[in-house]
Symmetry: C2
Subunit: 233 residues, 2 copies
């Protein structure tokens, strides 16, 4: 029997649909780099599920494959996301194992201490077409955003801000390149574009908009079902 | 000679004063727990400096001293803060060594791999009255917020949300307790209340509201001066 969907998914979806949370589609993702903490803001793109598995949500965001977070996650394949919804005063902290998908990245079966891949393994078993997904997400991005993956590696040194004017400003979506330059840029951008796939394994939901405040912890069990606990805010 | 104030402080202050960033006084703080990343949203309270040292800023926020982040920071005394200003599309990532201040917490001279304490050591040498500061910050909090430090330890299990109705709902500011109950609650709240002091050592400022995007990295040097570098966004 398929376990039911955890209650936090519905709570998150409902919170995101509130007018007061409009546009709050960013969260902060924490990683570890040589034992010290790192964190940056990312745009949330989607929540996906293996077919027939509403209990195994995966957060989808994207990155430049040359970014330092990629090597951090390769070394410690687990992240925690803090999603603060200012309008309704809800915080969702979502932690779990993480994987990249881009050509040649491989698909490690076991993230070790990152935690077990239940959802991603299931999608792999279902022969989910990750490359088609990657290209589809690439195409949903703005032309300006796509061009950001044609820059030199993120974090590398520049001599002046104005050097950025030499970089491509836009890259067309797939199938819409009109010049050789477009095609070259598109190939480069797509080559540097990676999906970040975060399996929710532990969720901590705090409701500061409710008096008295409420806080609930959800932990995924080995069989994929979720255990829910009321905890002190 | 005192080194000049780093340019990012002025940029941050200016960004915070913009009407489109109104109310964006929260950031996410990442820590490490047994090698895995943790992150949560915190309210920014203040930036403080040792006397005569505008180049040594310290971010001040607060916590319940019983919170898991306290043991995380004790084990790895370094954090990174991600401060996303949605209105102006600026991100400040601020990393550095961190310390708590509360009665009996002690003041480690050396946070080890957390990085050196330049600013906090200077304030200690100047005999800064941390306990007076802690009490003053406690008093700036709302009565409702102060009551949150009278709850059972954050994260501990409860049997029902309604149990929260038995907890004190408000705690008066210092000197304004009217009953024995007020005094008991106040003592408990103050005992669980700690300052979190983060020395800025590395700052990564991304300006996504500017086209082409700009990104600047600031690194504090051993003598307390700041090195600034333009990097690829």
């Amino acid at each position: 029997m398929t376990p039911p969907q955890p209650r936090w998914i519905n709570a998150l979806t409902k919170a995101l649909s509130l007018p007061e949370n409009k546009g709050q589609n960013v969260y902060q993702i924490a990683t570890v780099e040589n034992g010290i903490p790192r964190v940056r803001t990312q745009v949330h793109r989607d929540i996906i599920y293996p077919e027939g598995c509403p209990h195994l949500p995966i957060l989808l965001t994207t990155t430049d494959a040359r970014s330092p977070k990629v090597s951090q996650i390769t070394a410690t394949p687990r992240v925690e996301v803090a999603w603060w919804l200012q309008g309704s005063q809800d915080q969702f902290r979502i932690a779990g194992p993480v994987r990249f998908d881009r050509p040649g990245a491989g698909s490690p079966d076991d993230p070790g201490r990152g935690g077990p891949f239940l959802a991603l393994r299931r999608m792999d078993q279902q022969n989910f077409d990750w490359e088609a997904k990657r290209r589809a997400v690439f195409d949903t991005m703005s032309a300006h955003m796509r061009a950001s993956w044609c820059r030199p590696p993120p974090g590398s040194t520049m001599s002046a801000y104005a050097d950025a004017k030499k970089w491509p400003a836009t890259v067309p979506s797939l199938g819409e390149a009109e010049s050789d330059e477009d095609r070259t840029n598109q190939e480069q951008a797509l080559g540097n574009f990676a999906l970040v796939l975060i399996e929710a394994e532990e969720v901590d939901w705090v409701q500061l908009g409710v008096i008295p405040n409420q806080r609930t912890k959800f932990v995924r069990q080995e069989d994929g079902s979720w255990k829910e606990e009321i905890i002190v805010p």
